[in-house]
């Protein structure tokens, strides 16, 4: 199995006035490779995900998804082409049930907006994908719960489930472990391991133990710039990274 490159960003730059939030970042995501992006708060990690997913336009650079230049594509179009993302701040449908959160996400792949007579919950494509995604994310027991009333950790799981429900090939995950307990973290890391073989995954994460446990590659960002990129051993032993980021505390 070759590990083809599914997403490639080149020279990605985003400016807000004088602030360069992301500065000429190039990144490649391959199937069967979990690529972690680490960096201090404000380093530009979330902005990078926003740029790759098309939520905000690039100031400079190009994005290539599954071999297509998608730089000018809208966010929904990129999502339909197989790019899934989760959000650092929960971005769910709080008033819907857990199941309906997943089902609506899955519906993106079978929209049929003109089909007004078939109830949405009879749509086999989306109900099946929703169940599957909720199961993978460990939400089987709370399918009928109102999403807004879930525990924090469960909401984070739902974020991932909604992302998986659309059947993406590329996953951009923004701090999925933040605020999770040890057990939930363990389960999420197992899930990432399971997803790895057929997805290209970008993982933004602050939990260094987790990152060094699951990542195949690590990119380190400081002030919008990539200061190092390599396998976990290279990053662990890089003096520059220690100085700029890992610091004395580690």
């Amino acid at each position: 199995m070759s590990n083809e490159i599914l997403l490639r960003g080149q020279g990605i730059t985003r400016r807000w006035g004088g602030l360069v939030a992301v500065n000429r970042v190039s990144i490649e995501l391959s199937r069967n490779c979990l690529h972690a992006v680490i960096g201090t708060n404000g380093a530009g990690k979330s902005t990078l995900i926003n740029l790759l997913s098309g939520e905000i336009p690039l100031s400079e650079g190009t994005v290539e998804l599954l071999g297509n230049d998608v730089t000018t594509w809208s966010q929904p179009r990129r999502a339909m082409a197989g790019l899934g993302r989760s959000y650092q701040r929960n971005t769910i449908f709080p008033g819907f049930t857990v199941f309906e959160n997943c089902r609506l996400a899955a519906q993106a792949k079978a929209q049929k907006g003109w089909n007004l007579w078939q109830p949405a919950n009879r749509c086999p494509v989306s109900t099946h994908a929703a169940r599957e995604a909720a199961h993978r994310a460990g939400l089987d027991k709370v399918l009928d719960r109102t999403a807004g009333l879930l525990s924090h950790g469960q909401k984070r799981q739902l974020e991932i489930a909604m992302c998986l429900a659309t059947g993406p090939r590329v996953l951009l995950l923004d701090e999925p472990l933040a605020g999770m307990g040890a057990e939930e973290t363990g389960r999420m890391l197992t899930l990432l391991d399971e997803l790895r073989p057929d997805h290209a995954i970008l993982l933004v994460e602050h939990d260094m133990d987790a990152v060094f446990r699951v990542a195949d590659r690590i990119t380190v960002m400081v002030n919008g710039t990539v200061i190092a990129s390599g396998n976990p051993d290279e990053i662990r032993n890089s003096g520059e990274v220690r100085e700029a980021y890992l610091g004395e505390g580690h």
């Binding site: 939520e55 049930t97 609506l104």
Partner: protein
Amino acid sequence: MTMVNQKAIFVALFFLVLLAYPWLDGGSYGIDLVTKIMIYAIFALSLELLVGSTGLVCFGQAAFFGIGAYAAVLLSGEDGPASILWLLPASAGAAALYALAVGSLSLRTKGVYFIMVTLAFAQMAYFIVHDTPLGGGTDGIYLYFRPILGEWLVLDEPLVMYMFSLFCLVGTFGFLGVLLRSRFGRALAGIKENEQRMLGTGFVTYPYKLAAFTISGALAGLAGFLFAVKDGFVNPELLNWHLSGAALVMIILGGLGHLRGAITGAFAFMLLQEFFKSEAIFGEFARHWHLGLGLVIILAVAFLPSGLVGLPDVLRSRLAGSGVVPLKKLPEGGR
């Protein structure tokens, strides 16, 4: 599931009462009033599709109502009754076309700007009807012949008009009920709940919103058509922003996010208005009916934040003795 059945039974009973009403009361005043209220209920339902179901606060709904009404009159000939079969779709279609145009521009804005832009477009339509020969000025225009459907549906008869309005109300309610359960309807619900996530998931939300806006315009146009046919007369006040505001009050009063809320709200609003306008009860003070109506609405919104449809829940929790009233209930999730 039992809750859902209870609501369905309640709604069916309500429609049955409306069906029986002409034989319960039989007075021409009552029949005319309830016909009017049912037409407003259709109008409120059209707005509920935007505000309650899609999260688009439109403040120009009266323009669609008025355009439907004017189209009904302007498209009718002066030398014989038109057929409902084409006049009704044509009137609703005229309103829908206008809604399509307004929506395609206003949906590029968000929040307060959207409210202002829809209001501005409605005011434009108002002044066009008010100030051009087309609309007959302040005096409005008369409808020479009420439309008919063969020989068995002659809307000149108040009772026939009543039944036809009821038929349209039930049809609108049923249509929206089916629509909101469909994938299209769930996408609208998603847009209301979290549009950012919808975009990130792969929904191009603009066409969904535009379709909802156009359908809403068509339904408001249907209400306008009925109103013009019932009164046999149209004037620019049908496009007045007061009416847009009244429709908003109706759906808020009834309970946003529920179709039956729009109908409940329309009935409550109109009956309250009728009550406070009654000289038999208030004498001289009836002239100041706005005051009484306003006060009741403020109180209702303050004590029933989820509207009249939330009343049973409030009462139930009071009776259960918990003393805790859910101030803001999370909207119902679909399954």
